[in-house]
């Protein structure tokens, strides 16, 4: 497969994943802003930080106002990570790699772009936001369904999956990091009861609030939630789950090509680290430090994949 094509598949999947993650962040932000109007501005600011567009946003707006943030994250073309921007990028990449996609996958990406372009042609009123988020998630689910249901399980599929999980791991680590102060054991030990709304927000932003009850159960604690998001190997958005898949994809490619490259070894190391770490050790090291280290390693794996498989000249 062409290096360019591998890169196009990877980025198509990354951008699709990003649009979905944005929609989830907005949903969580909206929920917390509705239930706690006093802290709304602060919450929206943290949503922006998680999304990684805070400084660009500040260049355009002075304050963290809900309607502006929603508009910035959904449809601002100046924001390279707005849903509209990333869906356009996903579609451009899909066009570039059209030959590596089935008709169903291409049509689902194309339809996603056409639908969201129309739906986001005008600003979205607050009361319509839940429907819009729903629409974004549904479009994303259609693309994923078409990919899982129709793509050959060859190198191309694995490159696309790598894009999905690299992006998702990045997103989950950022979500936890932005809220890490809520999750520190000290924030409970000072006597305040654990913040229900906050933890629910975190779980919602990875669509795991009911999964938590089934997989872990019991009263949520900072420790159990953090452990769940970092190390649970059944939760599709946990770091461990992402890296099981990344390691698996790089292994599959290595097997297909008969050659193991740097990215494969790097991915396997991180997957092993996530499997063998304990939440106690993470809190001892410092959650923030652990997550920062992880984000760097994740970026290094992404760079190694790009290099190993010649995405660029």
């Amino acid at each position: 497969m062409l290096g360019k094509t591998a890169g196009g598949l990877y980025w198509m999947a990354r951008y699709m994943e990003r649009s979905e993650n944005y929609a989830r962040l907005l949903e969580a932000g909206l929920r917390i802003a509705m239930t706690r109007s006093s802290a709304a501005s602060e919450e929206w600011a943290s949503v922006l930080t998680t999304a990684g567009g805070r400084s660009a946003y500040r260049r355009k707006y002075d304050e963290f106002r809900q309607s502006q943030i929603i508009d910035w994250m959904l449809r601002d073309r100046e924001n390279p990570s707005s849903v509209l921007s990333v869906v356009k990028m996903a579609r451009d990449n899909a066009r570039l790699v059209r030959t590596a996609l089935t008709r169903e996958v291409w049509e689902s990406v194309n339809e996603c772009w056409m639908t969201l372009k129309d739906a986001l042609a005008a600003p979205v009123a607050d009361r319509d936001l839940p429907d819009m988020i729903d629409l974004i998630r549904r479009q994303s689910a259609l693309v994923r369904g078409a990919m899982l249901g129709t793509l050959l399980r060859n190198d191309g599929f694995h490159f696309a999956r790598l894009g999905t999980f690299i992006e998702r791991a990045d997103s989950t680590a950022r979500i936890v990091d932005v809220k890490y102060f809520v999750l520190l054991p000290s924030s409970i030990s000072v006597g305040s009861s654990f913040d229900n709304v906050q933890w629910e927000t975190i779980l919602r932003s990875v669509s795991a609030h009911s999964a938590y009850r089934w997989a872990v159960g019991g009263e949520p604690t900072a420790r159990s939630i953090t452990e769940f998001l970092l190390f649970n190997r059944q939760l599709p958005r946990s770091l461990a789950f992402c890296y099981d898949n990344i390691a698996n994809c790089t292994n599959e490619i290595a097997a297909e090509y008969g050659e193991e490259l740097d990215s494969c070894a790097k991915a396997r190391t991180i997957a092993g680290m996530l499997r063998n770490s304990s939440i106690e050790a993470v809190f001892d090291e410092g959650l923030h430090e652990f997550l920062n280290g992880f984000l760097d390693q994740n970026a290094a794996v992404a760079a190694a994949i790009e290099q190993d498989y010649r995405f660029l000249e």
Binding site: T5, R95, W106, E107, E259
Partner: protein, 465 residues
């Protein structure tokens, strides 16, 4: 659809029966469904110089254009004869130039032609095939009267519409194909791959590897490039994916550089090789012409084929056919006045309002004058152009083109059409897919069918014997 009087012409009879039993509301819904289908598939067409409407749909009409097996036999025999002559002509022009020596075609027309490539002199492409893919434009003026309008021997486009139009018809009217026996077009991509592979270069080792070379996603025909690559199961490459290694062209894959043997290029000669042609080209591959000349790669169509399909050479096609095949041309040529000839120029200037004037090197319906449809000011503007550069133009009479019905708001309405069948040429033979692209002028009375000028398309049916 209608012949003399109001009788339904024979090939349309079965379709007509079906159509008359259909209800207009249902057909309207089907028409909308077809548009949705095209939009979702992304069969778009980029219009240059229009920022907002970067991608546009070509209007699709749900009424098929139908040819009988008998009509098709005559057409395909005529096209095959012409394509043979074109290849023989190209070989001759780049070798012994016997047709020039025989005085059948004036040598100035070759020597001063910008489509003539001196780099190709003495080069014999693999299998001696120059035009691997041809899209002959044909119009009809009467029951058995077919004219060739253009030979399109460079990189004819539109074949994806032939395929997708049929696919759409199969989706929206599946029952129709059970009633009317229509010849298949869907084998085209596999035939194309086989035909290209059969033209592998001398230095090809093992199974020939084919790739499609596109200028990129912003090109107006990008959809078609990716569609064909996908349907053939071959890589779609851009210039920057390729380079010369060990005297071969190789593409950058996830596992290193791998050789390409046959390149179906959809970029113009001028952009093919910055070392040999336009030095500013970022679309091509530096050094590819040297690899080509040394038998390391097949380029389809061969560089330099443009010399055979410009509009001045076109006017000599009847002589060219006779010279190389020894036969009388089966398909007619439209009478053509070459404005480089002073007498012809005078005639053209005197009758400008009745004629169609085209640029010798123009395409896409741009830079042409359709006299009867033009305003007085447009006619005068062309008069000035003609006087300033007569050799740049040819003129033809406006033919009374046949019409076929389209599905309009008011019901069936006649519109002018042309037809572009697609021809594959390899050492194994000439293969013409039964069907082609029917382009239709969507505006009443208009003769311009080009999609860049608002023309639409139709599915084209060739009935079984």
């Amino acid at each position: 659809m209608l012949g003399s009087g109001d009788a339904t012409r024979e090939p349309y009879q079965e379709y007509r029966q079906w159509f008359d039993s259909e209800d207009a509301g249902r057909l309207n819904r089907k028409s909308e469904q077809a548009e949705g289908f095209f939009r979702r598939t992304g069969i778009t067409f980029n219009v240059y110089g229009r920022e907002e409407a970067e991608e546009r749909l070509i209007p699709f009409d749900i009424i098929p254009r139908i040819l009988s097996a008998r009509e098709w036999r005559k057409l395909s025999r005529g096209i095959e004869q012409r394509v043979r002559a074109l290849n023989a002509f190209l070989h001759d022009i780049y070798h012994r130039q016997e047709i020039l020596r025989a005085g059948k075609v004036p040598w100035q027309l070759i020597a001063n032609n910008e489509a003539y490539l001196p780099n190709m002199v003495g080069v014999s492409p693999p299998g001696d095939i120059y035009t691997h893919i041809v899209g002959t434009d044909i119009v009809r003026t009467g029951d058995d009267e077919f004219f060739v309008l253009e030979d399109n021997a460079r990189t004819p486009s539109g074949v994806s519409y032939m395929l997708e139009n049929r696919e759409t018809m199969l989706q929206i009217f599946p029952e129709l194909f059970a009633k009317v026996p229509v010849q298949r077009v869907s084998d085209y991509p596999q035939s194309l791959r086989r035909s290209l592979a059969a033209c592998a270069p001398p230095r090809c080792e093992g199974k020939p590897r084919v790739a499609v070379l596109t200028p990129g996603i912003h090109n107006s025909a990008y959809f078609e490039h990716s569609f064909l690559a996908d349907q053939m199961g071959v890589e779609l490459v851009e210039g920057h994916d390729l380079r010369v290694t060990n005297g071969k062209i190789a593409m950058r894959t996830t596992r290193g550089y791998e050789p390409v043997d046959v390149l179906y290029r959809r970029i113009d000669d001028d952009f093919l090789d910055p070392l040999n042609f336009n030095p500013d080209s970022l679309l091509g591959v530096p050094g590819i012409m040297d690899v080509y000349r040394s038998g390391g790669i097949t380029i389809a169509n061969a560089p330099g084929t443009g010399i055979s399909d410009d509009k001045a050479i076109y006017s000599y096609m009847p002589e060219i056919v006779r010279f190389y095949t020894g036969e009388a041309p089966i398909l007619k040529n439209v009478e053509t006045w070459r404005c480089s000839d002073p007498e012809s120029l005078q005639y053209v200037l005197d009758n400008l309002a009745e004629l169609v004037v085209k640029e010798v090197h123009g395409s896409g319906g741009y830079g042409m004058l359709v006299g009867p449809a033009a305003t007085a000011a447009e006619v005068e503007e062309f008069r000035a152009k003609l006087k300033a550069k007569p050799e740049g133009y040819i003129a033809q009479p406006t033919l009374s083109l046949s019409t076929v019905p389209i599905f309009a708001d008011s019901g069936l309405a006649p519109r002018h059409v042309d037809l572009r069948p697609f021809v594959l040429v390899s050492p194994a033979g000439i293969d013409i897919t039964p069907g082609g692209l029917t382009r239709v002028a969507m505006t009443e009375g208009s003769l311009v069918v080009n999609s860049s000028q608002g023309g639409g398309t139709k599915d084209t049916w060739v009935l079984e014997e």
